[in-house]
């Protein structure tokens, strides 16, 4: 019996394999986000293995299908296309792989105009509440990693840190960086699921390459995932070897690659955006992360653990927070002016209303911070235990408000700002900013 089993294993291993799991798309025509001068006569999909029962749709912005029935030619799927007028088009395809699984995908192209990215393909419904929550948690995680590292390196510089404080700071940084990685993957999958418009079971076999490699959002996901994996390694090595110096490159990487969000958000692609708006968004994001994450670190890692050290840390953080808040406000005001072309947009659009709520919460957090800065700080040297306890509670309250601000920031990031005055040149500039069409050309 054993020999038979062994022989069967050898035979199976030696047998040639005609196919291997589900089919993989190798190339397409029209190319991903291609800008065609004239209507394509066909749509072609080249797979790495034979596929069956192909379905190809060429949808215009109204959802009208312009494709003729698709057919397979070996490992290639071909579908004729009716003559297309100028416009943006979405191609949705499904094929039956040799293994019996349905493989699906989506990409976009334009006829005589730049195509929209696949994240704005026809049928994609845009961010959901789940995505808002995931993005909020992502912002909290980002604030934790950037804030705890910044707090450790700036506010606690030169101080002899008790073991418990070090431990909590590393725990906060680790929680933050793991959160950024995990929530980043989750956010990417949720966005892809929305773009592909597939139930979960079929989404698992969806081709994500057009989104990961052909959009700013996807490229930001790749670059930030790799950077934060490196940040995780550096934080871990700093803890393992007791070398806080390794936290410096970790912080620089985290701060630098947080720009991935700014380079793929409204301030990079929406009308009116420029290098300045990208820079302002990055400054806004990093300053807010340092402020909120630093505040949480002050409470969790120092105030609740080592109140004696807390006084010095409080004073240092108070100075740093003043600068950070100035940066947050300056960048935020500039971005509001860019995003809202008219003052009335503040109360007549959903984006403006959310921004108003966010500004109110920011004002509350600032007022709270001002009380700490101007009233609490001078009394700290002579403060008793009861006063310090109340300050600790007050800091927790300020942190909670600041985390609430991040929720509104997440909703704003996922929302569409009011439209700018449009012109044909704007439209082209907008589409041009969305990314290259070099994918699989």
């Amino acid at each position: 019996m054993k020999r038979l089993v062994a022989l069967a294993v050898v035979v199976v291993l030696a047998l040639p394999a005609a196919a291997s799991a589900h089919a993989t798309l190798k190339s397409v025509y029209p190319a991903f986000t291609a800008d065609l001068r004239q209507s394509p006569k066909v749509v072609r999909l080249q797979f790495d293995q034979a596929v069956q029962l192909p379905s190809v749709e060429v949808l215009d912005t109204h959802g009208l299908d312009h494709a003729l029935p698709a057919r397979t030619v070996g490992t290639r799927v071909v579908a004729g296309v009716r003559t297309l007028p100028t416009g943006d088009y979405t191609i949705r395809w499904h094929v039956l792989s040799a293994d019996g699984h349905v493989v699906s995908g989506v990409w976009t192209f334009g006829v005589r105009m730049k195509a929209l990215p696949p994240t704005e393909a026809f049928g994609a419904t845009g961010p959901t509440r789940t995505e808002h929550v995931v993005r909020w948690l992502y912002f909290v995680a980002l604030a934790l990693v950037i804030g705890s590292l910044g707090f450790r390196l700036v506010c606690l510089r030169g101080l002899a840190l008790p073991r418990r404080v070090e431990k909590r700071l590393y725990a906060l940084a680790t929680t933050g960086v793991v959160g950024v990685l995990e929530l980043g993957i989750l956010a990417f999958c949720l966005r892809c699921e929305d773009v592909l418009q597939l139930p979960f079971g079929r989404f698992l076999y969806g081709d994500l390459s057009p989104i990961s490699q052909g959009t700013r959002f996807g490229r930001a996901f790749i670059v930030m995932t790799l950077a934060f994996a490196l940040v995780a390694a550096l934080v871990y090595l700093a803890w393992l070897t007791d070398r806080p110096a390794l936290l410096v490159p970790a912080l620089l990487l985290a701060v630098g690659f947080a720009a991935g969000l700014s380079l793929s958000g409204h301030d990079a692609v929406d009308p009116g955006s420029s290098r300045w708006s990208e820079l302002a968004d990055w400054v806004h994001l990093v300053a807010a992360s340092l402020w909120i994450g630093g505040l949480v670190s002050l409470v969790v890692a120092v105030w609740l653990v080592e109140p004696s050290l807390g006084r010095t840390a409080f004073v240092r953080f108070s100075r740093l927070a003043t600068m950070l808040i100035a940066l947050v406000l300056a960048a935020g005001v500039y971005l509001s002016l860019v995003r809202l072309p008219h003052l009335r947009d503040l109360w007549t659009t959903g984006y403006g209303e959310t921004l108003l709520v966010k500004v109110s919460l920011v004002a509350l957090a600032l007022a709270w911070g001002a009380v700490h800065h101007f009233l609490v700080r001078p009394r700290l040297p002579a403060a008793g235990a009861g006063f310090l306890t109340r300050v600790g509670r007050s800091l927790i309250g300020e942190s909670a408000v600041a985390i609430g601000v991040l929720l509104l920031a997440a909703i704003l990031t996922d929302s569409k700002p009011p439209p700018q005055p449009t012109s044909s040149s704007n439209r082209v500039a907008y589409a041009g900013a969305l990314g290259s069409s070099s994918w699989r050309k």
């Binding site: 199976v12 040639p16 394999a17 799991a21 993957i185 989404f203 969806g206 994996a229 070897t241």
Partner: protein, 194 residues
Amino acid sequence: MQPRSEMVHWFFATGFLLLGLILLSQAIVGEAVWARRRWRVYLWPSIAFALGLLMWPVMTFFTNSAIHMLAHGAWAQALMVAGAAELGLVHGKLHNRLWRLATPVGIFVSGVAFLVHEQNAWLFARSAFLHHLIGWTLVCGSLVPLGLVLRPRSTLFQSAFALLFVALAVMLYCDRDLAPVFGHLSPLAGPPHR
């Protein structure tokens, strides 16, 4: 720009082979001799951690299906966590013996990820067969480091742990349907893929 899929598999197979041979050397000479040079005890956890870090680019760049991406993410994290926990233990930063469970748990999770990401039956193709084999080898093999937690000085468990990685390396070398290093198996297999 992307390296071919089989090259990535061979790269990681080489990493696991190195890992297996180091562990085998440790099992043969015994812990006392192995630890005479301090850097040696860091060797295998460091390699596991580095392999985990190097798995992230594979996860992010090979996104031709969501399940593929998620499975590679699971392997990246399992390798990093297992390597980090072992490094913390040998360096004296971690003292709780429960951290030793990170390796068996990581291996178990990796095995499950292999089984979940391979949706075909065992005999569908060679790669399907090997994915199932690797998955079950890892799932069952996770009992070996678990045994090491209970009997850390057992030569039997140490050797089995080393051979687990050697076997994994061999299976990964064979995992592609077309592996020029083993010769072109059949024209029916078509062009290289996956």
